[in-house]
């Protein structure tokens, strides 16, 4: 028997931009449970509306940042101790943390990405936007990554994410085979949004995954992925 996905689509569409109220969230969970974990249409709707939300975030116009933000971000990129928020020591990783949903700054190695992507928050139409799938259906929020295969630069965007304790961050990994490469650490803002940029290159056969890590960021995942997606460029 063909099951209707009309109500599920309504709820997934609104959830992808963080608009569900608790009753609707419970309703969606019930409907999804009734369709089962193998519901391909449910999965397709989640992925496609996740991509819509991701592109919305990346389509923002830049806005002014608070005084001192640029200096602090450059300090992070150079491995200097931040006043707050995550940082990774060393030159290879240049994490950018989000402090305003509409802001993207490009520093150090990330300049490569700026050139590739045009230096703004707008992801070009030819970029691949991938919605990472929650590994636990009860997980709140959506996570999306955008990149151009074969070129350096991955934009990470999330919305409606659970807050984390001060000593933890979300960390993005690019996993090729059995080898995870750290990409960027982010901490959700008060509204549950994150935005980050990494200079990793995605070629087309990797898995992108997000784990919860200590605020110092990890060189290898220390917890299981909570969002993940297989990159396919076919």
């Amino acid at each position: 028997m063909m099951r209707s996905h009309e109500r599920i689509e309504e709820l997934i569409a609104i959830r992808s931009i963080g608009g569900l109220d608790p009753q609707e969230q419970a309703e969606l969970e019930g409907l999804m449970a009734s369709h089962g974990p193998d519901c391909e249409e449910c999965r397709r709707l989640e992925i496609e509306y996740g991509e819509v939300a991701g592109r919305l975030a990346f389509a923002l116009d830049p806005v002014p940042v608070r005084p001192g933000f640029a200096e602090e971000t450059i300090g992070l990129a150079l491995g200097e101790a931040p006043a707050s928020g995550p940082a990774r020591a060393g030159g290879r990783w240049r994490p950018l943390v989000a402090v305003a949903a509409a802001v993207v700054l490009f520093v150090g190695g990330a300049v490569v990405g700026a050139a590739v992507f045009g230096g703004g928050a707008e992801v070009p139409a030819e970029a691949t936007v991938l919605a990472l799938e929650p590994q636990d259906p009860s997980l709140a929020g959506t996570v999306t990554a955008a990149f151009t295969p074969g070129e350096p630069g991955i934009y990470l965007q999330g919305s409606g994410l659970e807050p984390l304790p001060q000593d933890q961050v979300y960390e993005l990994w690019v996993i090729e085979g059995e080898t995870p490469a750290a990409a960027v650490c982010v901490r959700p803002g008060d509204d549950g949004s994150v935005f980050g940029f990494a200079d990793n290159q995605v070629t087309g056969s990797e898995v992108l995954a997000v784990t919860v890590e200590p605020s110092s960021c990890s060189d290898a995942p220390t917890t299981p992925p909570i969002w993940a997606a297989q990159v396919t460029t076919a």
Binding site: E10, A53, L56
Partner: protein, 46 residues
């Protein structure tokens, strides 16, 4: 409604209040907008 919901983090009820629209209209406009965006993005290269 999408802007208020996604970028400003307003609940559907708050948007209803702010815009003076019935809650059902907020829901239907959100869905319509998201469907249109999904259709538009569906035409982009993956």
């Amino acid at each position: 409604v999408i802007e208020l919901m996604y970028f400003d983090g307003f609940s559907q009820s708050k948007i209803s209040e702010e815009l003076g629209l019935p809650l059902g209209t907020v829901k239907s406009r959100t869905l319509l907008g998201m469907k249109r965006l999904r259709a538009a993005i569906g035409g982009l290269p993956r």
